[in-house]
Symmetry: C2
Subunit: 250 residues, 2 copies
Amino acid sequence: MTGTLTIAGLGPGAEALVTPEVSTALAQATDVVGYIPYVARVAPRPGLTLHPSDNRVELERAQHALDMACAGRQVVVVSSGDPGVFAMAAAVFEAVETGLDAWRDLDIRVLPGITAMLAAAARAGAPLGHDFCAINLSDNLKPWALIEKRLRLAADADFAMAFYNPRSRARPEGFARTLDILQDACRDDRPVIFARAVSTPDESLRVVPLAACTPDMADMRTVVLVGASTTRVIDRKGAPFVYTPRSVGA
Amino acid sequence: MTGTLTIAGLGPGAEALVTPEVSTALAQATDVVGYIPYVARVAPRPGLTLHPSDNRVELERAQHALDMACAGRQVVVVSSGDPGVFAMAAAVFEAVETGLDAWRDLDIRVLPGITAMLAAAARAGAPLGHDFCAINLSDNLKPWALIEKRLRLAADADFAMAFYNPRSRARPEGFARTLDILQDACRDDRPVIFARAVSTPDESLRVVPLAACTPDMADMRTVVLVGASTTRVIDRKGAPFVYTPRSVGA
């Protein structure tokens, strides 16, 4: 039997946000590969082997998945969110480019998912309703100076911004520097959304003016959304709505 | 009965990309409101009234939906893709902010969907695997000078870029100017992906080096993805894989 490799996005957490396309791929898989907490979201069944692995071994994980697909297995690599946004799809293609010739001609498919910034934005209103950017704040794989440059240019461009991996125990200072840069470049009342574990039982959402933001408001399960200069907060009885209008005046 | 307003993303086209959360909301709706081709994707059934409306009447459509929700209906506003990305969610909150006090206290929920850039990126590989931005190239609602400024800053930041609404009959020249700016700012071999009608029977995908791109390669059903300077093309027997590595050297 010809093997296949499918890189599937499980969405931010809730089953109701997993696309039918991904559910079908999981139902047909012989092997599921991924970071431990994501593989834990896949129900065991006869004929399916689960291969959970630790964080920070993305390339080895990708190579293992490619090997199994070459051997004729129906392999699904799972990511949370969308696999193409700061997740496993790029790692698989890095492995393909530098790996065995046979890997290039495999049937490799990427199945999109609801990425964290879209789930977070939906909960808050429509903060990404105008032009925006997405930046991974982890400096594991890029120099901090590049992150800083992108933050300043994104503020100049007046993009709304979505930050992934804002803060970890290993890098507590990066998000503090990010806030310093934004507090320097943007007005004090710019709305910032801290969206943690959206669509899971641990979900929380806070809307904080930029001047009042502190580094401890984010952790690795948080996506941070920063409004553009035009972003509005609609106060109401419940949680406020935050949205960025479609129009910008001339 | 208390009315509700749900703003739901139908994804790029295929049923297999509609989240179960959105399917459930549609199954419980009394009224579905949206642009004609999106409402046409919702199956008629007894007890459901469909309210298709023309393009460019987003604010009136939003007001109509809010009115019906205030009157106790279970209203779903449908967008293609994700409703929070260049779609109906921002229009609804604009209507809420400037409209009746009663609208603010409605039960309004946004349900995320697979936005076009994620579906297009998945088909091509992982071109958005590193930091990126999303820009609506339509200048209906913002001055062209702002689009141009954002394009130049995005190139300086070395973001991969996703362009929505690249070209329409009413604005044939905007995308030509976009290509001029990028061809001036970026290397000739930067990979550009023209992804049209992804996940529908009309789907097509082209990968073209920036220097060979021409304005007629895009229309209003196309999402255009432009790689970063680090983006790679993996040639193979079938369509090439395009991906942006996770790492950038110091």
